[in-house]
């Protein structure tokens, strides 16, 4: 913006000089070197802050040095071997991977990833980001509230369940300044199509930019990112159950009887990768993504496939019966079936009370199950929807205590806030909204919590209420509560809560 200072206004030389001086001060800043020096110093100062005592510091340094040495001896020969043999552990040690052929890799937490031919996956801060190609994951049981997250283009795929695949199409759909040869270095304007399909468990796809959940996929369902050419941003959430297999392919589809798509063929990406990229060459590696996905030992059971087929055909009672049979067994399929029973009862058969009972049964049978968080959330949402506020609040408070790190925490806290507010209990609502604000996403929950918190403060006669409403207006100038917030910011009591 052009500097146009408004004070001092006088036409005299002193005013003009003062104005110029203030403008100059406004534009005065450090040079790049100063900033870089500063960053180096800050980065050093904030990292070792935990070691305070000289004794412990010295001991820590010695121990670290010993561990590093021991680790080096242990890792060095392997590292050399890994580069040539494609040993799974290589994935966890590298920043970026390119697989000329399919590769099976073990990531942190025992997550197994199978990279398709020429797939490119980067590990950023311990989390994988798929740049191109197909990667199939097998995620072992995780602690509730600690989902495994994979990034692909502008999407976050949050894994609640066990086995799924992601395909980032190498063909660029957007405008890449005339380059449409299928190569990308990740810095073009073009966006690539992303596909997700689920073999077992539950996977959620989120828009990384807007923090909106776009889809929630159950076994057999798949999801494709919307056409980039058709719309600039990802489309709205489409989480309706899939239609029958004979119907035209929707964005989320259920092909229960067809095997997963084979890995697509991509150009080698070695030329486009940065210096830190590690190329794995493994002539001995045999299992491709498609082979692995269709191996009999790991394929979904016949009952679960039949249940999905029955659901797709609209035969919910049959699906329920199959899931109940499956739930009698053991292993991931039985656990998954235990959760699905509640889902079928709630969504297909309109029996919310029985659904809640089924999810509670699942919870009792699998207290640390993969779908524990999902079961909790489903129970809370169902209770709230059916008007059982007391139970919903009790469950929500339990959830907030039990899952301090859950990604669903903000949504549940916001729901609890709304329930408290509906009962006129603004004090508890405030505490709940505060939790939502601490979680920072999803955006719509945070926006609602920001506004309702202000409304509650005003209702309680707190002097910070108007400020909170102004803060809302500032943060969300075209937010959905703009009108009411304006009233509150102006000192009115508004219609809330």
């Amino acid at each position: 913006m052009t500097p146009q200072h408004r004070w001092p206004e006088g036409p005299d030389e002193v005013s003009a000089e003062l104005r110029r001086a203030l403008d100059e001060a406004s534009l005065h800043g450090p040079d790049d070197m100063t900033l870089r020096r500063g960053w180096s110093a800050v980065a050093v100062q904030v990292q070792p802050a935990r070691t305070r005592s000289g004794f412990w510091f010295a001991g820590g340094v010695a121990t670290t040095a010993a561990l590093v040495l021991a680790g080096s001896f242990w890792l060095w020969p392997h590292a050399t071997e890994l580069a040539s043999s494609g040993h799974p552990k290589a994935a966890a040690k590298s920043d970026s991977l390119i697989a000329p052929g399919a590769r099976r890799l073990t990531l942190e937490g025992g997550v197994e990833a199978v990279l398709g031919r020429s797939s490119v996956m980067q590990i950023e801060d311990g989390a994988p980001r798929i740049e191109r190609g197909e990667v199939r994951f097998s995620v072992p049981h995780r602690q509730p509230g600690h989902p495994f997250v994979v990034r692909a283009e502008g999407f976050r795929v949050v894994v609640v369940g066990t086995r799924f695949g992601i395909n980032v199409d190498g063909k660029t759909e957007g405008n890449v300044d005339g380059k449409t040869d299928g190569t990308t270095d990740g810095k073009t304007d073009g966006k690539k199509a992303v596909g997700v399909d689920v073999d077992e468990g539950i996977v959620e796809v989120w828009d990384a930019a807007t923090q909106r959940r776009l889809a929630r996929l159950t076994p057999g369902e798949s999801w494709q990112s919307p056409e980039v050419a058709a719309e600039a941003s990802p489309g709205p959430a489409t989480v309706e159950p899939a239609p029958a297999p004979s119907a035209p392919a929707p964005r989320i589809s259920t092909p229960p009887t067809t095997p997963p798509k084979p890995a697509r063929s991509f150009q080698h990406a070695a030329k486009q990768t940065a210096a830190r990229t590690l190329a794995l060459v493994s002539p001995r590696e045999t299992a491709t993504a498609s082979e692995r996905a269709t191996s009999p030992a790991e394929a979904p059971t016949a009952e679960s496939t039949a249940a999905r087929v029955a659901l797709a055909a609209g035969d919910a009672p049959r699906a329920l019966q199959l899931y109940r049979t499956l739930a009698q067994g053991t292993g991931p399929s039985a656990e998954n079936a235990g959760y699905e029973i509640g889902k079928v009862l709630n969504e297909k058969l309109g029996q919310p009370a029985n659904a809640v009972a089924a999810w509670r049964h699942y919870r009792a049978a699998h207290p640390d199950g993969i779908l524990r968080v999902e079961a909790d959330v489903s129970i809370i949402e169902t209770l709230a929807r059916t008007g059982d506020t007391d139970e919903a609040l009790s469950e929500a408070n339990d959830f907030l205590r039990r899952h301090p790190d859950s990604e669903r925490r903000a949504e549940i806290a916001r729901l609890a806030g709304d329930l408290y507010r509906a009962r006129g209990d603004c004090r508890h609502a405030l505490a709940a909204y505060q939790i939502t604000l601490g979680a920072s996403r999803p955006r719509d929950a945070v926006e609602a919590a920001t506004f309702h918190r202000a409304a509650c403060l005003v209702h309680l006669g707190d002097s910070g209420g108007a400020d909170a409403a102004r803060a809302y207006l500032h943060a969300y100038p075209s937010g959905k509560f703009r009108g009411e917030a304006t009233v509150l910011a102006g000192g009115g009591s508004g219609a809330h809560p």
Partner: protein, 198 residues
């Protein structure tokens, strides 16, 4: 914002505001989780602002770089306390202002002790002609005669372009008090400038 141009913040720059409240919260949350990319992003966004603010607030050249680093270390250690009730820029300005105040007090005490013990006046802050023009040096000299409270409000509003409601939050005073301090700071600065010309 009042329509009166005298009540319009200097330059009306968007830089101090940083991102939206949600973006700020997200950035802070990522920093708390140890996301080094987010932390670097926060530094890149706010370091020039903090540096400029310290400079305008009278932190001498030889102390400025260290002060800026200390502010960021303080920010890093206080991230857990950022609740998102104010904008991140407001919160950072508050930390920087507190730090600049401490440096200023430290210099005053050091000067006083030097005078008492050594019976010779402390050396004046070293000018940095390579960086700052003569005009800026004169402005510094004039503003150094303002009280710290008035200088803080003047710097934030006239140089940093921070809206008065945010200025009040940073200074920890009611808005009316901030307006009042700004009014007197402007008047004093103008009077000193005119006196200097004469």
């Amino acid at each position: 914002m009042p329509e009166n141009p005298v009540n319009t913040p200097g330059l009306m720059r968007a830089a101090p505001s940083g991102g939206s409240l949600t973006a700020d919260l997200d950035m802070v949350a990522r920093c708390r989780r140890g996301d080094s990319v987010a932390w670097r992003g926060l530094y890149d966004r706010y370091a020039p602002i903090v540096y400029r603010f310290l400079s305008a607030f009278g932190v001498p050249n030889e102390d400025r770089e260290d002060a800026c680093q200390e502010v960021f270390v303080a920010i890093y250690r206080s991230l857990a306390r950022f609740r998102g009730e104010a904008r991140l820029s407001t919160w950072i300005y508050r930390i920087a202002a507190r730090h600049a105040g401490r440096i200023s007090r430290r210099r005053r005490v050091r000067g006083l002790l030097s005078t008492l013990l050594l019976r010779e006046p402390p050396p004046p802050p070293a000018p940095d002609p390579s960086e700052r023009s003569e005009r800026l040096q004169i402005l510094d000299e004039l503003m150094s005669k303002l009280s710290p409270k008035k200088r803080l409000v003047l710097v934030l509003f006239e140089i940093e372009g921070v809206p008065i409601e945010e200025v009040a939050k940073i200074a920890g005073c009611p808005e009316n008090t901030a307006w009042s301090r700004l009014h007197y700071a402007r008047a004093e600065l103008m009077a000193m400038a005119k006196k200097r010309v004469r």
